[in-house]
Amino acid sequence: MTTETRYKRADFQSNQEVKWCPGCGDYTILASVQSFLAELDVDREKHVFVSGIGCASRFPYYVNTFGMHSIHGRAPAIATGVALANPELTVWVITGDGDGLSIGGNHLIHALRRNVNLKILLFNNQIYGLTKGQYSPTSEVGKKTKTSPLGSIDWPFNPVSLALGTEATFVARTIDMDRPHTTEMLRAAYSHKGTAFIEIYQNCNVFNDKAFQLLTGRQERDHNRIYLEAGKPIVFGPDDEMGVTVGIDGAKIVKVADVGLDAIAIHDPAKPNPGVAFLLSRLSHGPTGPTPIGVFRQVERETYGERMMGQIETAKERNSSNSIADLVKQHGTWTVE
């Protein structure tokens, strides 16, 4: 779905040479984002991209909007300051699995729970790319890298589960190669009021090639992509022959024929309780099997910025003085003559 606007993708391309490795999934994501921005009829100067450190974090340099390439892990904090300073801006956070989940894990979870108006895109390639191939907090157990020659012994994060655990108001997952789906997720995130978190499976063709083969390979993808769509039964497979049931012991993959379509879970991202969304996020860990993509959770909650401005307005109603002299007077003064 593209609409005519005053912008073209080229309007969001900066004059800087893009320096990711040839074949990197980041190129596709950059193209998806730039095209999406052109599709929006929003002033270019109203967008701010804030990133941390890592391959993904070079992103702001390539987008012709306002941007800051900041410090490893700190982008959610810095972006929070930008968003709170000017609520009219759309503030995008570009981060990766190392930046957002390792060194910056603390800022990420707090940004998510606060519901600051941020659009957080976490490029998950399950490897450290910029430092040339060490295991990351999303690498699978047993992964052999330069710093884990005998295999990683770190239990990995599932980023969607983590985000749901913080009660983030918008949590989604998409895949770099699937541009229409990526765009759909960007559109949903953009329209969401508050923190929107999108995990993007991104292929690092140099240090972790084909990590998402099950979801991107021509042979495998139809059997393994579970598209989550609000109000629809969660079915997948070339002929929708597979489905997901949700019960007290978790979400399970079943043959639709075995249980009947009525037993298949209907996806409802607007459930106030993130519990079912969390169960869905546990269907795969890696991904090593059929994996849900789409919007896991989208609920309404006042944003941090709205509450902050609300308190300021209330304070002004209660005390209309804008005089520091009055403030001192209230503190108590005396006069020497």
Partner: protein
């Protein structure tokens, strides 16, 4: 007050000054008693200076030395510089308070003890083998005792407070007794209790009854035959308020934001002794200020940097351990050349150190504690009220030069109070600060790193400004465009440009002034909160026939342009610091002068006598 029970007043003895220290358990309410005494003295018109001192634990074990909390206040009828080297009066609420504070009481001073607390158990906890109130070991002092707990219990019997709450009011008994002894007006204290607790609140009534009981006890007891009067000080005309350093800082930041026409943004994480700045600014929301209590120190400075990028006057407040965590973001602020104020309310370190005690040991970290070549302006407050001006000055430099600035305060200034002659706060002139709104290059191009010829500052073009879209970041930037550049010559040029910008601030700050003679035997150089004690010490030396001069340095980087010439005029340069000699190290390196360190790291400010003694020692050493 039950006037009919009062005996005819005896004429009070006039004193020009007195130093009173309230000391007790950290749960005894000594800070409150001291603060109320201070406020009523301020309203009465005395000059004053205070020194609160308390343990890091909220409630350390009762009755122990570790749990002693004290509040010293110096009141005078003249313009004083310090909280007083030694206490003339010590109010000791228990044996531990006596033991911990006795060494700071002037010989012959008055000790007013709560005799009820001097039982075997408390004596043992404080490490006394016998009762000092009765074993004659205090013969060098004037000792007076009162059964404060017994009388407080009787006084509050009808107020409705019960159980353990009954004795909570004993600080008000002590306050009442001291207020009687020093002829303090009582109305403001009683009014404060009413306002704080509400007129009908049992706790408020108990405090008032205990206060009256203490006041009347002084008046009716033979032992307390004597009262003192300290007349109002002859301070310059004007309106005064009593202010702590942290409060002054908060107000100064607000005043700076108003002068600059910007929104004040404070992103912080609670840390002793800086927390009360965040608390104070948080209650100023009606001025439109934004405060953000972050998840950690790093996020505190991070949100502030983001707010600075988006155009606010951004500040983060912390103490030493927090500065260490914020250091990486300071370097980013420096590389992106965005205005940001970091307030370091120093405390004794390293690590958690003595978190409630004063030290000046973060100077080196402020000057040099960043990765890469990362110079930035560093300025320090010299007194609680000076913190107001220094906060404004930090903001002025940050905004004018597009740079992070470190403002150094410390635990002594943070909590210490003094009267502040309030300037006309609604007449502070507006600063010429504006976000860039127009392209600055030919053909409508925008160069985010095109420097102002005079200041070296780059333009401040904030997100939301059409046509000025640009990217900043931690990677080295090409001059003018700000695009990423790995060019070696560009890196050297940018490093020099950043350094030159900060060094150039020397032409925009006042020269230092010498207090005292050009030919003095000793020049004393100080910075930060030691100003009062050092100035008093220098004056004492001059008054006793020695010759000393004093220079106090507010700007630690860049240093004032005339400082080198002044230092070279003197044979002996003494640098007293509450650290191991950090400014002295800088002066020796910068000016090749033989600066001598007087170091103190006891978690307490200098006494003026310590300064005088060292001056005399140097003056008499003719080698």
């Amino acid at each position: 007050m039950q006037e009919e029970t009062l005996s005819p007043p005896k004429p009070p003895e006039q004193r020009d000054r007195v130093v009173i220290r309230f000391a007790g358990d950290s749960g005894d309410g000594m800070q409150l008693a001291g603060t109320r005494f201070t406020e009523t003295s301020a309203a009465f018109g005395n000059d004053l200076a205070t020194f609160p001192s308390f343990p890091a634990e909220i409630r350390a074990p009762q009755g122990t030395l570790a749990g002693v909390s004290s509040f010293q206040v110096h009141i005078a009828d003249w313009d004083i510089l310090t909280h007083g080297d030694e206490a003339d009066v010590l109010v000791a609420m228990n044996p531990a308070a006596l033991k911990a504070n006795l060494r700071d009481v002037v010989p012959g001073g008055l000790i007013l003890a709560n005799e009820d607390a001097f039982d075997d158990r408390n004596l043992e906890k404080a490490g006394y083998e016998s009762n000092p109130l009765t074993d004659n070991s205090l013969r060098g002092y004037h000792v007076m005792t009162a059964p404060m707990e017994k009388l407080t219990k009787l006084a509050v019997a009808d107020t409705g407070v019960k159980g353990r709450s009954v004795l909570r009011s004993k600080n008000f008994f002590a306050l009442g007794l001291i207020s009687w002894m020093f002829n303090r007006p009582t109305e403001s204290i009683l009014e404060w209790v009413d306002q704080k607790f509400g007129a009908d609140n049992p706790v408020g009534r108990a405090n008032i009854e205990a206060f009256r009981a203490g006041f009347n006890f002084g008046n009716t007891t033979e032992e307390f035959h004597h009262t003192y009067e300290i007349a109002p000080a002859k301070l310059p005309e004007g309106t005064y308020t009593n202010i702590t350093g942290n409060q002054a800082l908060a107000w100064g930041l607000l005043a700076a934001a108003k002068a600059a026409g910007l929104t004040l943004f404070l992103g912080s994480y609670p840390i002793t002794p800086a927390t009360s700045i965040l608390e104070e600014v948080s209650r100023l929301k009606h001025f439109g200020v934004k405060t953000f209590q972050a998840e950690d120190e790093i996020a505190g400075v991070g949100v502030s940097l983001g707010a600075a990028f988006a155009g606010h006057l951004a500040v983060t407040t912390t103490s030493g351990p927090g500065v260490a965590l914020k250091s990486e973001t300071l370097s980013l602020a420096l590389a992106t050349e965005l205005p940001l104020i970091l307030v370091d309310v120093q405390r004794a370190g390293p690590s958690t150190g003595l978190p409630t005690k004063v030290e000046q040991s973060d100077l080196m970290m402020a000057l040099f504690g960043r990765h890469g070549e990362a110079p930035l302006p560093v300025i320090a407050a010299s007194s609680p009220s000076d913190a107001f001006e220094v906060a404004m000055e930090a903001a002025r430099l940050a905004l004018k030069y597009m740079t992070p600035v470190i403002l150094l305060s410390d635990g002594y200034l943070a909590n210490g109070a003094e009267p502040w002659r309030v300037p006309d706060l609604d007449a502070i002139p507006k600063w010429d600060i504006a976000h860039t709104t127009e392209p600055n290059g030919p053909d409508g191009e925008f160069f985010p790193y095109l420097r102002d010829e005079e200041t070296g500052a780059r333009p401040w073009a904030i997100p939301g400004t059409p046509g000025l879209e640009h990217r900043v970041g931690g990677l080295e930037k090409a001059a003018l465009t700000g695009n990423v550049s790995y060019d070696p010559d560009n890196h050297e040029m940018m490093t020099e440009a950043r350094a030159a910008k900060i060094a150039g601030i020397a032409n925009d700050i006042p020269e230092v002034e010498v207090h005292g003679s050009k030919d003095a035997d000793v020049l004393v150089v100080s910075w930060g909160s030691t100003f009062g004690g050092v100035r008093a010490g220098v004056n004492n030396a001059n008054n006793t026939g020695y010759s000393a001069a004093h220079v106090h340095v507010r700007y630690l980087n860049p240093l004032p342009r005339n400082l080198g010439d002044i230092l070279r005029r003197y044979d002996k340069i003494l640098v007293p610091e509450l650290n191991r000699g950090q400014l002295a190290y800088v002066l020796r390196a910068e000016y090749l002068v033989p600066a001598i360190t007087l170091s103190k790291v006891q978690g307490a400010p200098f006494m003026s006598a310590e300064i005088t003694k060292k001056i005399i020692e140097l003056a008499e050493d003719k080698s």
